[in-house]
Symmetry: C2
Subunit: 132 residues, 2 copies
C-alpha cells in the first residue's frame, strides 16, 4: 500500500511538478486526461485499432478530434502509428511501451470511477435535494 507520505513527497521532489503552471508535464497530462485522450488510450489498451475502429469504440468523438488527439499522443511518444501503403489504405494505431504503462494507470482510474457511479449518483441526489 502506498502511503500518503510517499505520494506527497513525490510531487514535491520530482524535477517535474504538474502543480506548477509552467511545467511541461501539465501539457502531457492534459493530453492524457483530456476529454478524448483518456478514452483513446483506454481503447487502445486492448490491442491495436484502425482509425475508424477507434472512432466507433470511442463513442461520440468526431473525426477531427480523434485525428488531433492521435497526433498529440503520437508526438508525446504514447501511441505508435503504422501505415500500410496498400489500397485502400490501412493504418493501425497501437500503444508504445510507455503509452501502455500510462493506459494501465488510466484504466485503473476509469474502472474505479465506473464502479463508483452508484455512490456518485446517490451523492448527487443528496446534494440536489438538499438545495431544491
Amino acid at each position: 500500500m502506498t502511503t500518503t507520505q510517499e505520494l506527497a513527497e513525490g510531487l514535491d521532489d520530482l524535477p517535474y511538478n504538474v502543480f506548477a503552471k509552467a511545467c511541461p508535464s501539465r501539457g502531457t497530462l492534459e493530453h492524457v486526461m483530456g476529454r478524448w485522450g483518456g478514452l483513446t488510450l483506454g481503447a487502445l489498451y486492448e490491442g491495436s485499432l484502425r482509425f475508424n475502429e477507434l472512432r466507433r469504440r470511442v463513442d461520440g468523438v468526431s473525426e477531427k478530434m480523434l485525428s488531433q488527439t492521435l497526433h498529440a499522443l503520437e508526438r508525446d511518444g504514447l501511441v505508435h502509428r503504422e501505415a500500410q501503403p496498400t489500397n485502400p489504405p490501412r493504418v493501425d494505431y497501437e500503444l508504445t511501451p510507455l503509452g501502455r504503462q500510462v493506459a494501465e494507470r488510466l484504466l485503473t482510474l476509469i474502472h474505479f470511477v465506473e464502479g463508483s457511479m452508484d455512490e456518485v449518483l446517490a451523492a448527487r441526489e443528496r446534494y440536489d435535494s438538499a438545495r431544491a
Copy 2:
C-alpha cells in the same frame, strides 16, 4: 430491445461503460480528469485546504474555475466542504473517503507522467525533427 450499445456494455460486464456516449460515468470522469479537477483532487490528497490555499497550490486556476470545479466535485461526493461561521469566514475542503480513493489512483497516474517527462520530451524532439 437490445441495442448495439447494450451489447458493448455487456462485454465489459459493467453496468457503467465510459466508452458509451450517454453513460453518466463519462461526466464524472470529466470532472475527475478535467483540466482543474484532477489537480484539485491531487492537491487535496495531502490534507484539507482552504479556498485560497488551494488556489495557490493549483497554480494558474482562476477563482471562478476553482469554485466551479469544487462544486462539481462536491456534488459528485468526492469533496467535502466544511464552512465555519467565523469572521472572517473559514472554509475547509477535504476529500471524502471515495474522493480519497479516486485521488490515490489519480496521483499514481500523475506521478507516473511526471516521471516520464524526459522520455516524452525526447519523443517530441524525434517527432518534430522527423518532419521539420
